[in-house]
Symmetry: C2
Subunit: 298 residues, 2 copies
């Protein structure tokens, strides 16, 4: 590494990636942004990016690090391998893989990066768009000391808390997947409880107020059931994201031969919501699988 | 009501009842305590009770109000009707029924009290022993304005927050039952996630720290999974309490013809833990239904 300004490319300028990229710019890093959306590229350019493009190869040789905030493992592999990005990066460039993926995918990606002398941390994130925008993501990451050292400027710029899970690639993803089991079950449980309240004739704003002041509360209940009370299903995070994440949870449990009672049930609930046509709505729309009730409208 | 000191009897001096009774004493109410445990009676006597007994009839005619903090509807009915307490209370005495019971039981109890000109609020509580001890219970209650007025000194002494759900008896219980659906699912989901972490080789103290700092957190995860991390299953609240409460949730859903995906699954998990011999342990012991893993020991 040189003593000059750290150069980082953020690939995937969705709600999390845009926030992370803006945080890197604010921290004084030379920041490049990659996405397929011209609007996102323009927004980041106006925020002070050193460069934006649909194609990461344009800047590849100048980079010290890459942050991947795309949707899934298939996109990670497409960007790195199918688009041949790895052939253009300098040896020693550090890749922070922050998509929610299976541990096995993380290990496969690391192995292919290592073949080209590229470093990786397995570093899923949590916190939501607002936290990402403030440079306050929670990162749960595993990898070598050297990889962490190379990515230190990026972690400092984007994260309020970095949990080091160990050196072994796959552990970061495993922790995130287990975290998503809880997050998904909590949203689905909130929906089940609020739908039951509606069926029983309890006003949902009152139910919301009681739960958020009592031991039945969860982070997800407080955040997502507010959308139900307001009747606002414009997507902050979509139903189909949890179809994907709980799918990974289910696959992981299967590979561990671990019985997944609640996680598999919540998975079916989100899948049912998607099958009913609500996949692109806010994940709180999982409540729409419960029929025969009146829900608040915007 | 007279202008003199309010006289209240707290029936059931378990973790919540003892705290509520102490809070009444501290607030200057003339407080009586009823329980079958001599130790509990002695403890409350030493705390300044105006009287303690196994039998509420000893003080019945002196009372302005009664708080019932027994375990279930059967105990409420036994105290009031089978033990003939209602024949000894003055007309207009107000009864605060704070056990977690079905809405239908609450309505039946109110009807039988009304026959003797006795008032009732349907007033389940939440918050745990520590909050009860500080006079800071959360109360979710329905009933007439007159009944609430009569119980005002007791509510002021014992509760930090009183949610008025409406006038109709049964609404308070319904809100509590739906709250318990969330509380039970959150404990069982916490257990499922921590067991999966153990199976995957993630240290549980680290998993706990990540979740409690991220969007997968819940009040119950933070409180109960601490017991798992410490390997301490001495009962703060027992597995069998959730077998009971989720049983009521299930019965209620059945009477509403409401499909209960997660609640019924969590019910089976607690029932399985009880069937395995863990019914008297802390409710976090629901994690013991997952075999083939090593859990922390005290």
């Amino acid at each position: 590494m040189n003593e000059q300004t750290h150069s980082v490319a953020v690939i995937g300028l969705g709600s999390m990636g845009m926030g992370a990229a803006r945080s890197c710019i604010r921290a004084g890093l030379r920041t490049y942004g990659i996405d397929i959306s011209p609007d996102s590229l323009q927004a980041l350019s106006e925020a002070g990016a050193a460069g934006v493009s649909r194609n990461c190869q344009d800047f590849a040789e100048r980079l010290d690090s890459i942050v991947l905030l795309v949707v899934n493992a298939a996109q990670v592999k497409q960007v790195l391998f199918e688009n041949e990005l790895i052939d253009h990066l300098r040896p020693g460039t550090a890749v922070m893989v922050s998509a929610t993926i299976a541990a096995q995918d993380a290990r496969e990606i690391e192995s292919r990066l290592a073949d080209k002398d590229l470093l990786m941390i397995d570093a899923p994130v949590s916190g939501g768009a607002a936290k990402a925008d403030q440079g306050e993501m929670t990162v749960m990451a595993s990898g070598s000391d050297l990889a962490f050292k190379r990515l230190q400027p990026v972690l400092e710029a984007t994260a309020i808390k970095v949990f080091r899970i160990g050196k072994e690639i796959g552990l970061g993803s495993m922790v995130k997947i287990i975290h998503q089991l809880l997050a998904g079950v909590h949203i689905a449980a909130g929906a089940e409880a609020m739908a039951m309240a509606a069926k029983a004739g309890i006003p949902l704003d009152l139910m919301y107020e009681v739960v958020t002041n009592a031991a039945g509360n969860s982070w997800m209940f407080e955040n997502r059931m507010q959308h139900v009370v307001e009747g606002d299903y414009s997507p902050k995070s979509m139903v189909d994201i949890f179809v994907k994440d709980l799918g990974i949870v289910t696959d992981t449990a299967q590979s561990l031969k671990f019985p997944l009672y609640l996680g598999s049930t919540a998975y079916q609930m989100f899948t049912s919501a998607s099958n009913d046509g609500h996949g692109g709505e806010d994940d709180s729309a999982v409540i729409k699988i419960f029929k025969g009730i009146s829900l608040p409208e915007k």
